[in-house]
Each structure stands twice: as C-alpha cells, then as structure tokens.
Amino acid sequence: MSNKMSKESKYSFRVLTSEDEDEVMELLKNMSNSSNEFLVWKYKLNPDFDPSFAVVAINNGQIVGCTFWVPRCLKISKSTAFRATFSTDAFVHPDHRGHGIGRNLVAFENKILENKKTIINYSVIKPDLAKHLQRRAAIGLVALPASTLVYKKYLNCSIIKEKVSLLNTIIESNRKLRAKLTEMNVRMLFRLRGFPSFLIKIGPDKIHIEEDDLSSPDLKIESDFALLTYIFKNKNILNLVKALLMRKIKFSGNILRAAKLYTIFNYLRQAHVIDIVLR
C-alpha cells in the first residue's frame, strides 16, 4: 500500500519495511532524544509492536517523517475492551515541515486502522500539541476528564542549585544587576511541599543557597513546589493572586524587604533572566 500526496508532490507515503529500520531508528533517535537502547526496547522488544501500523514519508528516496502506532487492547469497563492503537511517535524532519506531511501521515494511518478494524486510537499528548493536531489532521480527538494525579517528591536541592549557579553566571557578567544586588541582603526561607527546605540568600555579591543553616530568615514562603513551578512556568499573574487568596502560598516576615525583593525580581524579569533560568 502506498500513496502520493498530489501529482506535483515530492512526498510519498507507505508502510514501514524491514529495510527502513536503520534509517527510521536514526531519525527517531535524533528527533526524540532517545537512546538506542530505549528505542530497541520500545519497538524491537515490544511484544505488541506491529510494523504494519508504522507509516513513513519519503522524499527523494529518504525517510523524512514517520508515525508509529502500537496495537493495544483498550479496556473501557470491567468487561469491555476495544481493539485500539496507541500513538507512540510522530515526527517530520524539520527541513520538511509545513508541507502537510503530518496530515498525510495521519490520513494514511487512518486507512490502515480502518482496514485492520481498529475502533479507537488513543495517546497521551500535551494539550497545545493536541489543539494543533485537531486543527490539522486528527478529527474528533477529545481529551478525557482528568482522573489521575501525579505525586512528586524531590530528595535534594540539586535542581535549585543548578538554577542558582546559572543565575550567578548571569549576574557576574551583568554590571547593572550586580550593582542592584549590593543593596540587597535578604534571607528567604522556602518550606515547600515535595521539596527539602532551603534558604536563599540574595546579595551582596551573588545569590547563595543554604540547606543546613535555615536560621533567622527575613522572609518565609510556605507553599507547594509543584504549584510554584506551575505559576512560574505559566507566567499568569491571576494564578498567583488566586493561590495567595486561597492561602496556598503563605508569606511571612518583613514586608519592606519583600517590596525590595519585588523590585529586583521585576528587573530580572525585564532583563529576561527569569526566562533563561526557567528554560
């Protein structure tokens, strides 16, 4: 089974063959940042993997895109299960994006699903990508109501230490920022659910992180690590206000120092330092 996009199109689509294996593995490795060992486990060792569900896009004899769907049995109740497929990978080489390859890969895959009497296709997708897919190719894609929670606990402060060290590198190379920091001498204690307690000392020359000496803080912040990360990443001030009003974030300590801190935070935000650190 093979297909051409249009008479003028330079792309053709077909089911994966054993000769394509190395080329596709190389493409997947580069696009998904997965190790060879992981890909071998994911596909070659997978008892459910069926290459006839994998589709590749070809341009000038080279594979430039692929979709991998694994057949699975999807339970929808105690006694009922559907013949389904789980989408595991879908990639188009960056040089060939914007030519409708993704849409055609999904259309081709749909024909396979129809022939193989598959009733449902499902996947775990980031909501923004799902919106894009819905518009372009996957008609009828719907998100199920949330009913799963993720619990996370950090066992050490290494993630914060990395960010602080990155921040210090930026401060060292920014004279204006360094000058602003000399006026500061603030000790902030963080007690966050899901994270070990730590103290951040701002100024006079750089930012320090303490895990042992948590004494005499100027400001104390109590909250949830996952909530704070979510607020910072989404940069929505309303989320912050809502969390403060619902007492999900609690501040205590010297308010004047907090105001001073806000000025420096605002400066960091304007200088895009916050964006760099959060990346």
């Binding site: 486990w41 009733i119 008609i139």
Partner: protein, 276 residues
C-alpha cells in the same frame, strides 16, 4: 526516615516466577479503570523487567505469608512505573512500606526525585503521599492529557450499547445520529434502535426516527466519556441538537445510560516515553 515495619507484612525483592501473581493483582485492582493495558506475564516482562534503567532490585514486593498483597517497580532515576496494593488488605501500611522503600532506593542510587501517578480517587495513596511530603499535581501538567479518537463510530457505539444490553431500561426509540465533521472513511449517519429490550446499531439513513440528534463527532465522543452535566452543557450551547425538542429529556436519559463513567488511569509503565 526508615521503612516502617509491620507484624503482618514483610518486604522482599522480586523472585523469578512472581510475575503471574503480580499481573493478576494488577488486573484485579485496576479492572474498573479505562486506559491501562491488561497485564499478561509477557507484557509485564517487557514493560517492567526489560525496561532500560530498571534493575532487578528495583522491584519490591509486600507479602503476607506466601500471598503478594502489594508491589512496586521503580527506576534508578525515581520514576515509579507501577505501584499496586490489594485494597482488601491494610492499604495504608502497604503503600507506606512501598513508598518509604522507594525513597530509600532512590537515595541509595543518587536520584534526585520520585514520581508516581495514581488514580485521583485512590484516597489511601493520596493520604500516604501527603504524610510523606509529596507534592500533588494533575497528570496533564506533567505528561499531558489522555486523548481518544474514535476511528469507527458505529462499531464503538455498538460495543458500548452491547455491554449495557442487560440493563433493562424500557426505552422504545429509533434514534438517528447525524454526525458532522466525520472523517471520510466513516459513516455520517448512525441509527440506534431500541425495541422491547433489544438494541441494535445500524448504518444508513433509511429509517423513520423518533429522535434525531445532530452533532459532530468530538461533541458526541465527549458526551459519551464525560459527565451528565457536560451533556446538558452541549445541548445549551447547541452543539448537540435534539429533535423534536420535547424529546430532549428522553434523549438525555438514553445518553446517561450509555455513558462511560469509569475513570481512566495509565501507569508510567504503559507509557513508552523516555523519562528523565
């Protein structure tokens, strides 16, 4: 923090041959959930044992005598692939033993964090996680949401309706569902005929329906997976039109009857994605 001891239960590592008991425990515990792959020893061996980053010592079992009452599988980096306990036993003790063991295991291997996903309605896991100072967030914030796409709507509806055929509801209706935005390979008209306790899903248009439903495939799918409240919302937004209008309560009743209310849950073991 050490691993709590129990006079009734003890912790041990995996032994060859345990997989049959582990898979049957998993299937028994999660049978009411949508989304997970029913476990077979071959599938379990692939998704747990042969997974890169998982050591043989990364599987801990809580047993009561010879009976396995709980287990967990964790990668060195701290991703808990599966955590399962028998709800008929002392769930809180078992989960506390397993999670405390996970914290110790990850600490020993120099990992930075532990991550576990569990059904939102699992109050025991939630309570233990709170006591052990885990933070909590929706699945969508970390991995993304679970998306479904119905490829063949008549077959999908047929199977759901078939599953409910023993529930006598006393409906006598012929419902014509007109679907908009349907993929080219799918029928855009589906008939649901309910007569004297018999239910049939038919293709085509040649019927005289008692109720006609005009909608698109996303809306109808959402109404089938979602809550009854969503159904009313879609009717008010006119994304789901019912004719004649006075039959709306009857149509809503039929929809509520066919709705899938089971929550979904996918353990990390079923997600073939590279984790940190």
């Amino acid at each position: 923090m050490g691993i709590p001891q129990s006079s009734e239960y003890y912790l041990r590592t995996y032994r060859h041959g345990d997989e049959a008991d582990l898979t049957s425990l998993f299937d028994k515990v999660f049978k009411y959930f949508i989304g997970f792959v029913p476990r077979t020893p071959a599938y379990w061996k692939w998704c747990i044992q042969s997974r890169p980053n998982l050591e043989k010592e990364g599987i801990a079992i809580v047993a009561n005598g010879d009976n396995i009452v709980g287990y967990t599988a964790i990668e060195k980096s701290g991703n808990i692939l599966e955590l399962c306990y028998d709800p008929s036993c002392e769930g809180k003790t078992i989960v506390t033993m397993l999670l405390s063991w996970c914290v110790e295991y990850v600490n020993r291997h120099g990992g930075n964090s532990i991550i576990l996903n569990a059904p939102a309605q699992d109050d025991i896991t939630r309570q233990v996680c709170r006591e052990l100072e885990f933070s909590e967030q929706p699945f969508a914030n970390v991995f993304g949401a679970l998306f479904l796409r119905v490829v063949n709507f008549p077959q999908f509806l047929g199977k759901i309706v078939n599953q409910k055929k023993n529930e006598k509801k006393g409906f006598n209706e012929t419902i014509l569902i007109k679907l908009r935005e349907v993929p080219f390979w799918c029928d855009d008209h589906v008939i649901l005929r309910i007569r004297k306790g018999r239910i049939a899903v038919l293709k085509g248009k040649k019927v005289r329906p008692t109720i006609t439903i005009d909608t698109d495939i996303s809306t109808i799918s959402l109404c089938i997976y979602g809550s009854p409240r969503r159904l009313y919302g879609e009717i008010l937004k006119r994304r789901l039109r019912i004719r004649p209008f006075w039959k709306t309560p009857r149509a809503v009743k039929i929809f509520s009857w066919i709705q899938i209310r089971n929550p979904w849950y996918i353990p990390i073991a079923d997600l073939p994605i590279p984790l940190e």
